[in-house]
Amino acid sequence: MRQVLNITYYETIHILRNRLLLGQIFFVPFLYTLLLGTVYIAGVLNNIPLGVVDLDNSQLSREVVTAFANSPYFKLNKQINTYHGLEQAMRDGTVRAGIVIPEDYAQKVSLHQNTKVLMVYDSSNLIWGYNTRKYAREVINSFNIDHTAAYLAGLGLTQEEVHNNMDTISLNMEVWYNPTYSYATFILLGIILMILHQIGLQSVGLTVTREKEQNSWLQFLSSSVPPWKIFLGKCLPYYTGGFFNYALLLWLASDLIHVKISGSLLLLILLGVIYILVINAAGFYISVKAANSLQVTRYIMLLSVPMFIISGYTWPSRYIPPYINKLAHLLPFTWMSEGFRLATLKGLGFHYLVSHILALTAMSVAALLPAMTFDKHRKFPG
């Protein structure tokens, strides 16, 4: 045990003396989470700039425009009043959505002739696109409900009769787990898990290569300290730092950025313990095998985006081809991000996460075995 602690002490001193490494372990994850959390802090899209081309200018068309203007989702840009102007504004991003009311709209409606309001939205960014479409449908549904209620009242129906009629079949839509449609709740936890993954892998990944470059790895190899003790001693500070970051970043997301984190605390701790273990063991083994720090840094840094995208965290895995899904399931991030979402967002218990915990445990064993039993014999040339 003393040998392990000695190595841990030596590694800790190194981390404390190397300002960049210290910053990478303790400051960068915090900075990234704060920065990227601030990006998503609004959570939902509001005040979508909307251009209105009202060619009818009737009472009905003005009511339609007012329905959009009164919605918190849209912000009217009053400078646009022609179709050409709307086209130009959509092209240069001044507005992201537009409605065009044809010139004989009210007349055609009163004559029951076929006429439609044109709703256009910018789908060059699909976050704009899908949200604008949903909001527009909400506004139109709400407008139609008001219209029907007013019409029925005009027929002499009492308020109760109107209410009863309109709710003959009422479809009550409930959005579970993320009822406010918050993008922060949706995406930030995945980003945090990726930050922990990358920073952890990068930091541990340099622990042996650094020794190799300083020619001090030879001392470890020629000493009587067994490989597993070297692994434990070297990884302990990174593991502690990784777990500290895990707790800190979740607190930051929950308390400062108001990301929904519910579920069993014990389960979150268990997931964190295994996830950081896999990262540390894999990082150490990579470091033992890598020729130099440059190699480790280059390869690890480029992994984050592909790993995040193929994991199914954003684009559902149901729509991803099976061979990509299989590849993604070889990575701890895929299991952790999915399991973490089930635990924190859906608030599910251990029973639902058995496969995730087993997969992560199997991965940690698979990473620990080679990391703790690496070959200490040097290969001499010739």
């Binding site: 009422s170 449609y181 991803i320 599910l348």
Partner: protein
């Protein structure tokens, strides 16, 4: 005589420059790790991202219906849900608990519960409530599912309301008029099929490409000054400006050569839309490449080791895609962050790529982007030159 000397000097300078370029190409080619990363990394990314988004759009959202009623009204409702755009009914669990389990497990995204007395209530003109539960844990699913449900909701409610009015003695045309409301025609512009592959594949691949470029650019100065050979170079009399200028030409040319196959494969083979002139796109990419290279060069001039320089460069390059507002719109970020992210060339690049590929807003609009990227390049190269000359 003087003119002859001048031409000799120019020829020598040119030859020196060429030698440095040749040396740089040789160094990069010999570095097998870097070579593989640059040649394979972005193209592998392109393949992975395109394969991931090959479904292109969210359709057939898995839906389950718990139908506790056997009336015609309930059957009609089930039919409406089955015919709904984007919903695909894949299960008919017998009760709410089973439906809840399916949603918890992620097997279905939309769950509908039709109460056992729906038909009876509708016949007696009493209110009946149908529950529609949407799994909101994945927003891509949730927004699509909610939009699909909203369309069906209006149709079903209107039909039930009209029937109730008619049975209460109100004229059919009046009843229909009451529920007529406004009809809208939706037109998604610039990406009419709401295609995720069009939206993300090229941008994500360019993100990998810019990270690879940052790795190389971050070695530009420290790759020389951090070596012992730096003293040899200094003693040889070659000017520092000429050295780094020649190196930079090679690196920037290589970055452009790396991006070419990405564009060609994306536009010709994957049919990702491009609404602007290809020459303009390349010119815009060149402006960004210079800005990116200048930042890498600056990071490499400030760092004490190659690793530190790469860390510094990647510290900016890694989160820059999210910060650029390409996915989560910049307009929805806090005002101070909107201003701060404009310092990064990646913000201008990814925004510009979106405008050029989908909208082509014209040279006057994109000229502003060129100006900012050029200013970034001039500033960073300038500072890097001052720092390097002191070494």
């Amino acid at each position: 005589m003087e003119q002859l000397n001048f031409s000799k000097v120019v020829i020598i300078m040119f030859k020196q420059g060429l030698s440095v370029m040749y040396r740089e190409i040789t160094y990069m080619w010999r570095d097998r790790g870097l070579r593989n990363l640059l040649l394979i990394g972005p193209l592998l990314g392109l393949f992975l991202f395109y394969a991931t988004y090959s479904a292109q759009a969210i359709k057939d959202i898995p839906t389950a219906i718990v139908c506790l009623d056997r009336s015609d009204t309930a059957r009609q409702l089930v039919e409406d849900m089955k015919n709904a755009e984007y919903l695909k009914v894949i299960a008919y669990p017998p009760n709410f608990q089973d439906l809840e389990e399916l949603i918890k497990n992620g097997r279905v995204v939309v769950g509908i519960v039709i109460p056992e007395d729906l038909g009876q209530k509708v016949a007696l003109h009493r209110q009946a409530t149908v529950l529609v539960a949407v799994d909101g844990s994945n927003m891509i699913y949730a927004t699509n599912a909610a939009s699909a449900v909203m369309t069906v909701t209006h149709t079903i409610s209107a039909r039930a309301g009209i029937n109730a009015l008619v049975s209460n003695g109100i004229n059919f045309s009046q009843a229909q008029e009451a529920y007529q409301g406004i009809n809208i025609r939706e037109e998604p512009w610039f990406n009419p099929t709401l295609n995720y592959a069009y939206f993300l594949v090229l941008a994500l691949t360019l993100n990998i490409w810019q990270q690879c470029c940052t790795l190389v650019a971050s070695m530009n100065v420290i790759g020389e000054t951090g070596r012992r050979s730096w003293y040899q170079i200094k003693a040889s009399g070659i000017s520092v400006f000429k050295l780094f200028f020649s190196k930079s030409i090679v690196q920037v040319t290589m970055f452009m050569l790396l991006v070419l196959p990405i564009y060609i494969i994306s536009y010709i083979f994957l049919h990702i839309p491009m609404h602007c002139n290809f020459g303009l796109l390349l010119l815009f990419t060149l402006a960004f490449t210079l800005a990116l290279h200048s930042i890498g060069t600056l990071a490499s001039s400030l760092s004490h080791s190659a690793i530190d320089s790469i860390r510094l460069g990647m510290l900016i390059a890694l989160p820059s895609f999210i910060l650029s507002g390409y996915t989560w719109p910049m307009e929805s970020m806090p005002h101070y962050l909107q201003q701060a992210v404009k310092i990064l060339p990646q913000t201008w690049f990814f925004q510009g790529i979106n405008y050029l590929t989908f909208k082509n807003p014209g040279p006057a609009f994109i000229g502003h982007y060129f100006l900012i990227l050029s200013l970034t390049a001039v500033t960073c190269y300038g500072v890097a030159a001052i720092v390097t000359l002191r070494k």
